[in-house]
Structure formats: structure tokens, C-alpha cells
């Protein structure tokens, strides 16, 4: 409101603050655009324009496009994985030595759902990007392995204890089904909206959360009970 002449306007942000700002805006824009269009569908210039910075700044702060996408992941994945590991650990203690499939899946899935439900603005693009990476063969197999496999292995160990008679192959295929359903959910493609004529919405992750763990737990019980029948193709292994 007060008339502030341009020359007198005090510097509001320190050098370090401006640096951090630029970096954050580049990472935010990269996260959002990569999540929408994939790695190859976005140019560095698109990202710079979306971030409101000069396009050469992207190269000033990040070596190249690959380093940028790595940095985008490095900012989010450890937070998600840590919360998950904590949730699994808390459940492991709470269950008193007798874990259930339902309990393990709730701990594993709900911590990510809650990131969306409680911090939607901050996390919605990160989760969608994770989903896209998980489903893309060429880029991101390494990323998934590096950032997520350790905590997934912990889930599998819990499931093994909850289903002692279940074969390893059944456990891994069951996890595979879970992650496929989960990643499509986080991707929020909008298809369920059109298909259901508005009965369901892609961005209603509360509805997904309320169904997913129970749905998948029942699936595990079913293939564990089915037992040896599924072993036919396993015999082809050495």
C-alpha cells in the first residue's frame, strides 16, 4: 500500500533463500510435469517456464535431465519409505508376534494414502510420478529398486509370517498384484470416473484406502489356500 520507490525497496530474500527458492521451484515443476507427461514428454525448457526461471538455470543447478529426475525422487522417496518402515515396525510391535495379512497391508498401504490425504498439495504429484515410474519398463526400474525395495522386502517378511504355509512365489505374485493396483490408484488417470459415470472418482483416495487392504488381503488368503495348484509353472525353475 505504501509507495515504495524501486531503489529503496529493501532486499527481502538472502542469496541462500533465493537459491533454495529456485531449486525448489524447479523440482516442483519437474515433479508435476514428469508426473503428467513422463520423462520424455517434458523438455527442460517446459520445466523452467513452469517454474518461472530462466531455462539455463536448470543446468546451473542440475547436471542434466537425468540428474534432475534423480533429484526429484531423492527429495520424496526417502520420506515415503521412512514412514512406511516406521508403520511396519510399529505394527510388528503392536501385533505381538502374530501379524495378519490385513494388518501388514494396512500398515504398508495406508502410510502412502495418508501422505495424499493429509498433505495433498505437497504429495499428489510425487505419488503420481512414482506410479508412472513403476509402470514404465525403460526408465525407473533402478529408481524403484533403489528407493523402495528395502521396505517392500520388510513387508514380504511380515506376510511370510502371517501366511506360514504360503509359497514364496505366491507371496511375490500377491505383492505384484497389490503394487499394480496401488500404482494405478496413485496415478489417478481419471478412467474410473468415466467408466463409472461419476460413481467413483480417481482422486478419491479415501475410497480406495477403505477398500484396498481388505481386498488384497483376501486375495493373499485365496492363493495361499489354493496352494500347490499354482505350482505348475514354478517347476520350470532350476
Amino acid at each position: 500500500m505504501a509507495t515504495t520507490s524501486r531503489a529503496e525497496r529493501p532486499p527481502r530474500r538472502s542469496r541462500a533463500e533465493r537459491r533454495a527458492d529456485s531449486i525448489r521451484q524447479i523440482l516442483d515443476s519437474a515433479e508435476e510435469l514428469f508426473a503428467e507427461r513422463g520423462f520424455h514428454g517434458v523438455s527442460l525448457k517446459d520445466i523452467a517456464a513452469h517454474a518461472g526461471v530462466h531455462h539455463t538455470l536448470v543446468h546451473y543447478y542440475f547436471d542434466d535431465k537425468n540428474a534432475l529426475v534423480d533429484a526429484v525422487f531423492a527429495r520424496r522417496a526417502p520420506v515415503s519409505s521412512k514412514r512406511r518402515a516406521d508403520a511396519l515396525e510399529a505394527y510388528e510391535e503392536a501385533c505381538g508376534g502374530t501379524p495378519t495379512v490385513e494388518g501388514a497391508l494396512h500398515a504398508f498401504l495406508d502410510s502412502d494414502f495418508e501422505l495424499y490425504l493429509e498433505h495433498q498439495e505437497e504429495w499428489k504429484h510425487a505419488l503420481a510420478l512414482g506410479a508412472q515410474v513403476a509402470n514404465t519398463p525403460d526408465w525407473g526400474a533402478d529408481i524403484m529398486e533403489k528407493h523402495f525395495d528395502p521396505v517392500v522386502r520388510r513387508l514380504i517378511e511380515l506376510l511370510k509370517r502371517a501366511l506360514p504355509g504360503c509359497s514364496e512365489a505366491d507371496l511375490f505374485w500377491g505383492y505384484h498384484f497389490v503394487t499394480g493396483a496401488f500404482m494405478l490408484t496413485l496415478a489417478r488417470t481419471g478412467r474410473i470416473d468415466a467408466l463409472s459415470g461419476g460413481v467413483c472418482r480417481s482422486d478419491d483416495l479415501l475410497a480406495a484406502k477403505q477398500r484396498m487392504a481388505e481386498f488384497m488381503a483376501a486375495g493373499f488368503h485365496a492363493i495361499a489356500a489354493q496352494g500347490g495348484e499354482g505350482a505348475a509353472s514354478d517347476r520350470s525353475l532350476p
Copy 2:
């Protein structure tokens, strides 16, 4: 073996045959490369080089890149959908008016699994491309809707009859989980191979087929039984 001078070599392929050959090779290459790297990850020049044709031929036969990917889909999707529709219809007759979730899912899923298991060379890239499109928000929502939604609606109708007490929202979310797991399976990203230390293989779709329908059917039963509990978020609808 016989010495055939270049001038005398008889024309082996008619004009129409060569035309069809070129088109097929462009479509095959586009299908394979799009499936591996996504729409934006492949240039028309990459496709022409892979097909062994001059890069301008791609424009001669297809208007532009979008028309090419549409043509790739138009060649496969109706075949897959027709088989599925036939399988669902056959099951509907065979079940004698009392369909089960297991039966409907087997009919729906196994017809695509069998395309892979029985015609692997011809179909493996097409199925992986379908998977990639299904999981990508920006391109392909229309494609999925146009080519696949009619037969999906038929599946939903069957499931509704198999689970008369189940809410519409539960049915659509259940289908959503099925398609997420199914698409990740068809994508064959290789992640389950690394995660399981070789116990499971991405390309062992027989193993997936032997587990998926039973797993998912149990999931439907579980959320149908859970019933009203999941309805909390549905109340937000008009």
C-alpha cells in the same frame, strides 16, 4: 544358389504386397518401440530405422505421429476385445443364469493371457503397449475408453449379477484394482524378477494367470461383505 543376374531377377512381390509389407513393418516397429519407451520416447526416425524403411515413408502411410499410434491400436484392440466379448458371452451361457465372480474374471482375464501364451511373438508388444497407455494420464485415456470400455461394462454387469448385494462403488473400485494389477502384469517391467531374486519372472504370464482371477475374486467377495463400511466417502456424492 543359382546365379541370378540382377537384371533378370523376377519381381517376387507385387506392389500391393510391398505396400502391405512396409505398413506392417512400420506398425510392428512402432508397437514395439512405443511399448518400450512410450509415445514421447520414440521418434519417427527411430521407428523407420527399426522397420528398415526410409523415414519419410512413415509420413507417406500415416498422417502424423498421433495417427500412427492410433493405427497401432486399431490393429490389435478390436481383436482382443472381440475375444473377450466372446469369452464373456460363452461364460454367460455356460453358467446357466448364475454367474460367479471367479467365472466372470476368468473369462475376462484369461482371454488376454492366452493371447500372450499362445501367440507370444505377435502379441507381447501390443499387450505391453496397452499396459503403458492404461497407466499414462495424458495420452490414451481416450484410447482406452474407445477400445476397451464397452467390454469392461459387460464384465461389470456380470459381476453385478454375481454379487447382487454389492454397491456400484465397490464393483468399480474392485475392477480398478483388477485392471491395475493386470496392466502391471502385461507391462512385464522386470521388477518382480529382481525383487524375488529370480523366484518369479515378469514374462511368466502362466504363473500370473494361475493366480490372478482367484486372487481378485476373493477381493471382490471381501469388499462386498465389508459392505456399508466403505460407504463413508460415497456420501460426498450428490
